[in-house]
């Protein structure tokens, strides 16, 4: 191979490399841009959940099912004026009134606020149906009705467990039956 041939080979290699470099360069570093505009409107809100009281399991503090949510269950067992209650976690009082017995259990209510300057809230409750005669449902000694919300507290603090006691008072002549209510609690920001 003479000098001219060598130059030719090197020239060919150089051209080939340049082409490869050009191809590679053509595929890299290209950019495309786009713009996404986000919009939202923030609204104040509060939430209410029921929680087991720290004393849960002891007398007067039965466990909730689905504790930590806003839809819980509370089983008060079975009770009679003469025999007391079947559950040890239920507080039973005989002769709470003339011929009445009472079963009760306490739990906590926690109301949380977000994006609100509300200083506190008021709490009310309502039972779902009229109870039988001589049966009364109460929260902290305040009788509930199914016709309207009954205010329980006027200025409860947010994010603080508020202990509430559900009481059911039953008089002697009430026939044996299942007593059941859905109690709706309403927290309203002040």
């Amino acid at each position: 191979m003479n000098m001219n041939d060598r130059i030719g080979v090197w020239r060919s290699l150089f051209v080939a490399c340049s082409c490869l470099w050009s191809l590679t360069a053509a595929g890299q570093g290209q950019t495309g841009t786009a713009q996404l505009t986000i919009t939202m409107t923030v609204q104040s809100s509060i939430s209410l959940v029921f929680q087991d009281n720290p004393a849960v399991g002891t007398n007067g503090f039965c466990p909730l099912t689905n504790s930590g949510t806003n839809n819980v269950g509370l089983d008060l067992g079975s009770a009679s004026f003469t025999g007391g209650d079947s559950l040890t976690c239920v507080a039973f009082i005989k002769n709470v009134g003339a011929g009445f017995y009472q079963v009760s259990s306490a739990f906590d209510v926690v109301v949380t606020k977000a994006n609100s300057s509300s200083p506190n809230y008021r709490l009310a409750a309502q039972i779902s149906a009229a109870p039988p005669a001589n049966v009364t449902w109460l929260i902290n000694n305040i009788a509930l009705t199914n016709s309207a919300f009954t205010q329980l507290d006027a200025t409860d603090n947010y994010a603080t467990p508020i202990t509430k006691t559900l009481q059911v008072q039953v008089k002697n002549p009430v026939p044996a039956q299942v007593l059941q209510e859905t109690i709706t609690f309403l927290a309203t920001a002040n």
Partner: protein, 175 residues
Amino acid sequence: MAALMLWSAALFAQNPTATGTINATLINKSGISLVFDSDPGGVALGNNGSSTASLNFGVISAFGPLAAGVTRPVVGANSYTVRTLFDVQVIQAGSTSPNYTLTAQLAAAAPTGFAYAVDAVTLTTAAQTIQTNGTYGTDVQHSLNLTVSTAAPGAGGPAVGTPISATINFTATSN
């Protein structure tokens, strides 16, 4: 003699011709484009399929109802997050690039009480890398996560009851 005369007649019967050439040149440049597409699991984008789309979360709150396509994966003591999905499609032409890198940045500082993230990447006004190996020519799903302080307005929380906007600039760069 007769044959010679016939040949001459044929010569005179041919149409005259002329030829020319055009030396045409087209420089086929490489390029990529980026558009936003609505994701089936997210909110419907305004200007869907374009490079200047809009995304409306609607009314958001820590505990209240949300618009269709918006979820609330986290509610904490100090903040909550609302999320929606959107798709990015990057198209290449005249390029041998195998994939692309996607970056995003806020056009301006986030409003008080807000933090924005695409996928798991929190956005700032500097470009943040979202993805390093995006596939061309197909919708690539991304999540837009908006973390909102639960603080009250004026106490570190966002303004309430008024629409708040932010703009995110996306850039796709061919690898």
